[in-house]
Symmetry: C2
Subunit: 421 residues, 2 copies
C-alpha cells in the first residue's frame, strides 16, 4: 500500500498513512496503478477520448495512449465510431468493452441460493434465485446445491463466449481470511470450508474463488451500484434471520483483525429487552431481526419447535396490514423503527458514515420504519445533525450476490490484466 | 492511494481496494514510496547495512544506495562506525539520525495542558504537563495558554538546534477536517477554530499544524509505542470526563465521513441506566466516565452546582481504598468493569480489533476493572473467543500528546523530505 500524500502546512488534519506500512514500488507497479486509473475513468466517463483521459487524470498523453492500446488488446476497452462534437480534429471515443468477460456472485441465504453474473461495466448478465432451505439442510447438501448452481451459471456465461474472471460467495456469518466459515447462526453452520469446498467442486478453477459475508458484499454493491454509490463511508444493515453490518470506511471494506468486523447481530441494545436465541437479552437481532419482527407484529404466527424457515408470506402479510393502516401493526413497526434508529445511532457515533442503508426485510418495511428510525438516530447520536449520517432503504435486489460479482472484478479493476485460460 | 494487489486464485478472501479510488502515479511517487520503505526499515531494524535493506525490502542495491545517500544528506539517517560481524567485506551500518529535527504534540485536557516533543525515532525530548482548568476557562484563554506552552516548547527544541517538522494538537471532542472543533463537551466548547487560532498565534509557521481528537492520537501512540505496537486493528478507549474511542483499522485511523468517528461517549448501554448530562440515560460516559465512577465509588463526594474539575485526589483515594480491600469500592469497580466490558463487546463485534486498550482513569483502575471487563467481553461478543480481541490497560503516559508528535512525523515518514526553513 502506497503512502498517501500528507496534508500541507495549511491543512488542519493530518493524513496519517505511514502506519499503513509502505511497500516497495517499482515501474511495473506504476503501470498497474495507471492502468487502473485509465480503466476507472472509462468506466465512469465513457464515452471519452484519449485526450479527455489525459486531461482529467493528469497522466501524460503518451502514457494514456500506450495503456489504452493494451486495454484494447485485452478487450477491456474498445473504440466506438462516435466522435465528440468539438473544435479541431475529431477524436475516437472509448467505452468499456469486456465482451469476453464475466464475474460471478453467489449468495447463500437461509431460504434461497442466488447467482448473479455481471460484465465489466456492472451490467447484470443473469440473476437467478433458487428456493433452497439452507437453514434446514446439512452444510454438505447446501454446498452441493451451490456448486451445481455455480456450474450452471458458469456454463451460461461461457456459452456467451465469456471467460469468468472470478467469483465470490456471500455467507450470512463469520468468514475467516481463508474463506472458511467458523460460525453462521442463520444457517446453523460451524466450521464449513466454503472456499476450499467450492474450489474442489469446480475442480480448482483458474479464477479466484472468494468468500465474504453477505453484509460486506451488500455494502460493496451499495457503494458501487446503489442510491449512495460513491460514498466513502457507508454502512449496509443487512436483515433476515440475523442482522449484520457491512462497513465501508474511507472507501474500503472494514474487516477487522480476523475478518469478523460488522458482526452486530448480538449487539446488546437493551439488557432488559426480549430474550435472544443466544441466551442473552435485547440483542439487535432479537429486536429487529425478521423472526422478531414477525413475532411482534403477527403474534398469532405459530412459533413452535419447528421454526419457520421461509418468512416471505409473513412479510407480505405485514406489508398488507400496514397498507391497510392496521394500528397494531403500525405501532409495532414504529417500535421496530425506533430500535433500528438506536442501532443506527451506535453506528453513526462509532463510524460516522455518510449513510446507513437498510437491506432485506428492513428495506421492505422501510416506509413504516424510517420515520421513527430517523428521529431516534437524530436524537441519540452525539455529533450535531447525527454527524451528517443519513438513514435510507436500499433499492437493490440480491445485493450480496451483486456485490460478490463486483468483488470478483477487483483484480482487473486494480489494473492487473485478466489471466486468460 | 495505490491499489493493493488482489489475492491470487488460491486465496479465500478478496482484497477489495479498487474502491479506494486509484490515483495516477509517476516516477516521483515511486521514489517517495521507496524512500519511505528505506526509512521505515532503518527505524525498525537499525543498525542495518545497505545490503540488509536491499535484501529485506526487495529494492535493488543501487536504488537503496541512492536513497540512503539522500537520507544521509537530509540528516534523516547516519552511518555509524560499527560493522557487522559477517563473512566478507565489513559493511557500514546505518541508524536513524534526525538530530536536527523534532516533532511536537500538544494535548488539551479538562484539567491540564501537555506538550511532548520527540525525535525521528520516537524518543521523547521533553514532556511538560501544566495544570490548567480548561473546562472552567473560556476557549480564548485556553488557546492563549496553549500557544504560550507551544512557543516555549518550540523555543526549547530550537535551542537544541532542531527544526520543528510539525505539530498536532489533541482535543477531547469532535474535530472537523479543517482542524476546528464544533463540539467538545468535556471543555464546554462549541465551534473553536483550533488550528487557525494556533497558526495565527504562531505567526503562520512553515510547518504543519494539525488537530485531532485525543482518542485518535492516543490510539496512534498505542499503535506505535504501546504494548501492542504494530497491531493493524486496535481501539484506544480514552477516559476522563467523557469517554471516546480512537480506532485503528487495517493500520490506519478510522475517521468517518466528517471526521467524527469514535465519538462513543453517549453510546447507550442501558436505556434504564443512570441519567447522563446529555439528558438521556445509560450513556457510556454516564456509566464509566470519571465523574460517574467517582459518584458511584465515593458517594460522599460533594456533587453540587460547582462540579469538580480536578478528579485526581478522588482517583487517588479510590485506588487507596481498593488496595485496602474496601468491599464497597471493590464492588463498584467490578460493576464499572462489567460496563467497560459491555462497551468493549460492542467495539469487538463491530470492529473486530486485535486489542482494546484502556487509557486514562480506566488504565489507573485497570487492576480492579479488567477481570470483570474481560469476562463480560468474552460472554457478550459474538465471534468465538471474542474474535481474538484482547482487553488491556495502556502503559503510556500523556498518550495523546505523544500521538500528536507521532502524527506530526507522518509527512517525513511517508518519504517526503522535510522542508527546511
Amino acid at each position: 500500500m502506497k503512502a498517501r500524500r500528507a496534508g500541507d502546512a495549511g491543512s488542519g488534519q493530518i493524513v496519517i498513512s505511514i502506519h499503513n506500512e509502505p511497500q516497495p514500488t517499482d515501474l511495473g507497479d506504476v503501470r498497474v496503478a495507471n492502468r487502473a486509473v485509465v480503466l476507472r475513468h472509462v468506466r465512469l466517463h465513457a464515452p471519452c477520448s484519449r485526450a479527455d483521459i489525459a486531461a482529467r487524470t493528469g497522466l501524460n498523453k503518451a502514457t494514456v495512449s500506450s495503456l489504452v492500446s493494451e486495454l484494447i488488446d485485452q478487450r477491456l476497452v474498445r473504440e466506438t465510431g462516435l466522435t465528440e462534437n468539438r473544435v479541431g480534429r475529431p477524436a475516437t471515443m472509448l467505452v468499456l468493452d469486456g465482451e469476453p468477460y464475466a464475474a460471478l456472485g453467489l449468495q447463500i441465504s437461509a431460504d434461497e441460493l442466488v447467482a448473479v453474473a455481471i460484465d465489466l461495466g456492472g451490467n447484470r448478465l443473469l440473476t437467478w434465485r433458487r428456493a433452497f432451505a439452507a437453514a434446514a439442510a446439512p452444510p454438505t447438501e447446501t454446498m452441493r446445491a451451490l456448486a451445481a448452481l455455480t456450474r450452471r451459471a458458469i456454463g451460461r456465461v461461457s456459452a456467451q463466449g465469456r471467460t469468468v474472471l472470478g467469483l465470490t460467495v456471500g455467507v450470512p456469518g463469520l468468514v475467516d481470511p481463508t474463506g472458511a466459515v467458523p460460525l453462521a447462526t442463520a444457517l446453523g453452520w460451524r466450521d464449513v470450508p466454503v472456499a476450499a469446498d467450492l474450489r474442489a467442486a469446480l475442480r480448482q478453477p483458474s479464477f479466484a474463488v472468494g468468500v465474504d459475508t453477505v453484509a460486506n458484499l451488500a455494502a460493496l454493491a451499495e457503494q458501487r451500484h446503489g442510491t449512495y454509490a460513491g460514498s466513502t463511508d457507508l454502512v449496509h444493515l443487512t436483515g433476515g434471520i440475523t442482522v449484520g453490518a457491512g462497513i465501508i470506511a474511507a472507501g474500503r471494506l472494514l474487516r477487522g483483525g480476523r475478518g469478523f468486523a460488522g458482526e452486530i447481530s448480538h449487539l446488546c441494545l437493551d439488557p432488559t429487552g426480549p430474550p435472544c436465541r443466544c441466551g442473552r437479552r435485547g440483542c439487535l437481532t432479537a429486536l429487529v431481526g425478521l423472526p422478531a419482527v414477525v413475532r411482534r407484529l403477527l403474534p398469532d404466527t405459530a412459533d413452535d419447535d419447528n421454526p419457520l424457515t421461509d418468512y416471505l408470506p409473513e412479510l407480505t402479510r405485514i406489508v398488507a396490514l400496514a397498507r391497510q393502516g392496521d394500528p397494531t401493526v403500525l405501532g409495532g413497526l414504529a417500535e421496530t423503527g425506533r430500535q433500528v434508529g438506536r442501532g443506527a445511532a451506535i453506528l453513526a457515533d462509532l463510524l460516522n458514515p455518510q449513510v446507513v442503508v437498510l437491506g432485506d426485510h428492513l428495506a421492505t418495511l422501510a416506509p413504516w420504519l424510517l420515520p421513527a428510525a430517523r428521529s431516534e438516530l437524530a436524537a441519540r447520536s452525539h455529533a450535531p445533525h447525527a454527524g451528517g449520517c443519513q438513514l435510507d432503504a436500499s433499492t437493490l435486489t440480491t445485493a450480496a450476490a451483486l456485490g460478490g460479482a463486483t468483488a470478483a472484478l477487483a483484480t482487473v479493476e486494480a489494473g492487473r490484466p485478466p489471466a486468460l485460460t
